[in-house]
């Protein structure tokens, strides 16, 4: 099955989330093709899950001070700091063989692409088979969710989905480096000792590509490996493409409507 392959480079969190949503909305209208997109983040951004309450989780003043944008995802899950990482999104109609079925069936199938891609990069990862409902902290990488990718018991990749207008959007983050100090400066804690305690626990539970590989790695190398993994595991025929003018216009409109003043409620 033919898929469009996009690499939209580093953009702001507002642009990144608006582009994913624009592709999904236009696909629901039969305009955009099934798409595998890779992207990065500049400036660094924290994304919050669709239902996550901003004030209870984040120290917004610290985000401003550190130049970190705060943006809400259309997908579920908890807070993620996106800085040096490779993010993927997969956007396809619900009946597409890559995403069809229940939420957990589609997660499992797509995770096969990630597992194979990471193997091409030189990493053996396993899939967590339990749901993340036991993990209650505000930061996403604190505990692996259903079918998320784990190296030596530590979470490497987090993914989240949304379903709208007969289409599925799944996006996920693979940190190249994991900056726990910055992440934990952005979250609210009642005391500094608790902040440090939670950060150390997080460091034992989360990892990054460079840490797991034990060598430096570039976004381009990661993207090539993941594209290979998805195409082999899911039979995607990837054709490099660009965002269309219609998608860019729609993304701009979504960005202005949702994030016009760049402030979350």
């Amino acid at each position: 099955m033919k898929w469009r392959l996009l690499n939209t480079g580093n953009r702001s969190g507002f642009d990144n989330m608006a582009i994913d949503e624009a592709i999904m909305l236009l696909q629901a209208g039969g305009v955009s093709p099934p798409t595998l997109r890779f992207y990065g983040w500049s400036p660094p951004s924290v994304t919050l899950g669709y239902f996550q309450k901003t004030g209870e989780t984040l120290d917004l003043e610290a985000c401003r001070r550190l130049g970190v944008d705060v943006v809400r995802r259309p997908t579920g899950g908890r807070a993620v700091l996106h800085d040096r990482e490779v993010t993927y999104s997969i956007i396809a109609p619900e009946e597409n063989p890559a995403v069809r079925g229940t939420v957990s069936e589609s997660y499992l199938r797509l995770s096969q692409g990630l597992v194979l891609g990471l193997r091409l990069l030189g990493l053996e990862v396993s899939r967590n088979r339990h749901s993340g409902s036991a993990a209650k902290g505000p930061a996403c990488f604190e505990g692996p969710g259903l079918y998320e990718l784990v190296v030596n018991g530590r979470k490497l990749a987090g993914s989240a989905q949304c379903r709208k207008g007969g289409c599925v959007l799944q996006h996920g983050a693979l940190p190249i480096v994991n900056d726990s100090h910055t992440l934990f400066r952005l979250l609210q804690f009642p005391s500094e000792s608790l902040r440090e305690e939670k950060r150390l626990i997080y460091c034992q539970k989360a990892t990054s590509l460079e840490e797991a590989l034990g060598r430096p790695v570039s976004p381009e190398e990661v993207i090539a490996a993941l594209a290979g993994g998805f195409s082999q595991a899911l039979g995607m025929v990837l054709e490099p493409g660009e965002l269309t003018d219609e998608e860019l216009d729609m993304a701009l409109k979504i960005k202005l409507e949702k994030y016009g003043n760049h402030e979350l409620e």
Partner: protein, 128 residues
């Protein structure tokens, strides 16, 4: 787990009509596909919705999914129990897990919905 006497949409919602209003929820099949629901976004009472349009969002284990209105109408009530107990959608999808009550614009729209028998055919066919 598809009760008789309700009408079903292809988007996996049910509606139970009584007079001019209908109570709407998602089917047992839909809640199973979503997994544990952890958050519920309900529409504003008084808002209007068209058939097939999104009524709100359900967040289950890592997926935020729209749910849709089987018919056009005005929202006259929402299930106030759900924000605190979203699990009711999984546990009692046809009873205490109802989502929204609508005042129907046009009862003729109900003719386009599926009976329990047809809905069972739909979910057996698409294997979802």
């Amino acid at each position: 787990m598809v009760p008789e006497g309700l009408l079903y949409s292809e988007d996996h919602e049910w509606i139970k009509v009584g007079g001019k209003t209908g109570r709407v929820g998602i089917t047992h099949h839909a809640q199973e596909a979503l997994g544990s629901v952890v958050f519920v976004e309900l529409p504003e009472v008084g808002s209007r919705v068209a058939a097939g349009e999104a009524l709100g969002v359900l967040e289950s284990v890592k997926a935020a999914s729209d749910y849709y209105s089987p018919v056009s109408g005005a929202v006259v009530a929402v299930n106030e129990e759900l924000p605190d107990s979203p699990n009711l959608i999984n546990e009692e999808p046809y009873d205490r897990g109802w989502l929204v009550e609508l005042e129907l614009d046009d009862p003729a729209q109900l003719d386009k919905l599926l009976t329990a028998e047809k809905y069972i055919e739909l979910i057996s066919a698409d294997g979802k």
